[in-house]
Amino acid sequence: MTGIQARFHLVRSGFSLDVDLELPGRGVTALFGASGSGKTTLLRLIAGLERAPGGQLRVNGDTWQSGGDFLPTHRRPLGYVFQEANLFPHLTVRRNLQFGLKRVAAPTRRVSLDQAIELLGIGHLLERKPDRLSGGERQRVGMARALAVSPRILLMDEPLSALDLARKQEILPYLERLHDELDIPILYVSHAPDEVARLADHIVVMDAGRVVAAGPITDTLARLDLPIRLGEDAGVVLDAVVEERDPAWHLARVAFPGGSVWVRDGGHAVGHHVRVRILARDVSLALTRHSGTSILNTLPAAVAEIADDAHPALALVRLNVGGSPLVARLTRRSAQTLALAPGQLVYAQIKAVALVG
């Protein structure tokens, strides 16, 4: 039996956590929510760094916590990436990496030191002490160190939150490599919608210590009834394949079930799997197909659902594009002018599509 079954109830002063979750045993699952929503606490409970008496936890068929049984953290086959790397300051990068590696029995090693070093691109840093590393380098070493114990699950606690935008851009490609090349489930705690859109296959949305939504990222992000407001980040994420490339205009056409869109050519070969993110604010609706517009992508769609957005002037419209979801944000006045109703056929005009990996 694969996957993670977790049931925790924890009461602290001013905070309570109550979750009963089943998480997939593969891919990246984002634990997403505002600070104080309990996502980091949940991750720490799964790691055994925090204890919730009476909790239940099974990971890939192994019981880590049940009744009075509690497997201590050092006996759980996990890798943990801390928010601020948390490297041992008294050890060089190499010795930091070896720390966990040499405590893993040789027969259970599946990741070699060289692999971890190569995967995170830290070969040139090995003899340095952590205080001689930049924030982004520290975080990459922290990830390599977690991988070097050949974990059967990787837990990451907001690994990018302490970094500036440039450092984030430096790390994200490595995270995507982990996603693509590792055959282990990753739990990724984040409060940043762009990171989640880029990395996650599944998402667990948390609010005030409770799980308010969970499921595959495409379906879950397209829900209009999410109790947390994403604001400017509302939108969908679609898995797509590069179908053709137009070198004259540096554009590529990527297809998803039910449609395709032109995006800036990201250099991916035809047939390559990519992920696109379309924000609700970048989608407008028309009843007829317009000509004479700068909009490159117009897709026929059916209105599936209309809901109020956070601001009273705005509405969110979920569309069905041949099976794939799309969310548009418009003013409620426009929605009334167009007399939008579920089932109605419209044209979705997409102003911007982001290729996110």
Binding site: H74, Y80, N86, F88, H90, F99, R103, V104, V149
Partner: protein
């Protein structure tokens, strides 16, 4: 300038301080660890008890130890039952007294070092398969090294400097309990100022060097 009795006193003092400091590092580590990590109600009372020698007159400590380790005291009965005889006016008795007397000077630097470290290194070690004991030796001890240096130097120096406790429980027995501070007192009593100067100046130089080492190797505040 130093007589053989002076040299004997110097040697005895160094031996006492060495043995006491070694014992204190072993005993002080679990106490400091517990004080740094516990959330128990007992933290306050135990911490205050450990710190008592800082404020109590040494004669008070010496007096109570004399009573406790004497033939009718609980400590004395225990040592007699164990076949160790009585500790007052022996080197072993001095060691026991010095351990109590210098305890806070070892425990407090260690406790500060453990507290400053926080939970994070231990959590990292646990996620890297290190058991708590393993993590203590592989992570906590190396990270607490400045604390251990301070504790060693302060524990040693404070033991070298004790006088009141020694007089109360050790008396003045050559090669057994007559340490440098007592020897200086004897010289002054006997108006042997030259000899007193020799030892006293030695103590000043020693103390200065010890503190110099401490402040050079362990700069507080600004990082190198």
């Amino acid at each position: 300038m130093l007589e053989s009795t002076d040299l004997a006193a110097v040697w005895l003092t160094l031996k006492l301080a060495g043995v006491t400091t070694s014992l204190l590092l072993v005993l002080g580590t679990p106490i400091a660890w517990w004080l740094a990590r516990t959330r128990s109600w007992w933290k306050g009372p135990v911490g205050a008890l450990v710190a008592l020698p800082i404020v109590l007159p040494p004669t008070v400590i010496g007096f109570y130890l004399l009573v406790a380790l004497g033939p009718n005291g609980p400590g004395g009965q225990l040592t007699q039952a164990l076949g160790l005889g009585l500790l007052p006016f022996t080197f072993a008795g001095l060691v026991v007294a010095s351990v109590f007397y210098s305890l806070p000077f070892v425990v407090q630097p260690l406790q500060n070092a453990f507290e400053a470290m926080g939970d994070k290194p231990l959590e990292a070690a646990a996620t890297l398969r290190a058991s708590p004991l393993d993590a203590f030796f592989s992570v906590v001890l190396p990270l607490a090294r400045p604390g251990y240096l301070t504790a060693t130097v302060l524990g040693f120096a404070h033991t070298v400097g004790e006088f009141g406790v020694v007089l109360m429980i050790g008396g003045n027995i050559p090669n057994e309990t007559r340490v440098v501070s007592v020897q200086i007192y004897d010289h002054v009593e006997a108006m042997e100022y030259a000899q007193a100067h020799g030892l006293a100046a030695g103590m000043v130089v020693f103390s200065f060097l010890v503190l110099l080492v401490l402040y050079t190797l362990n700069p507080t505040g600004r990082r190198k």
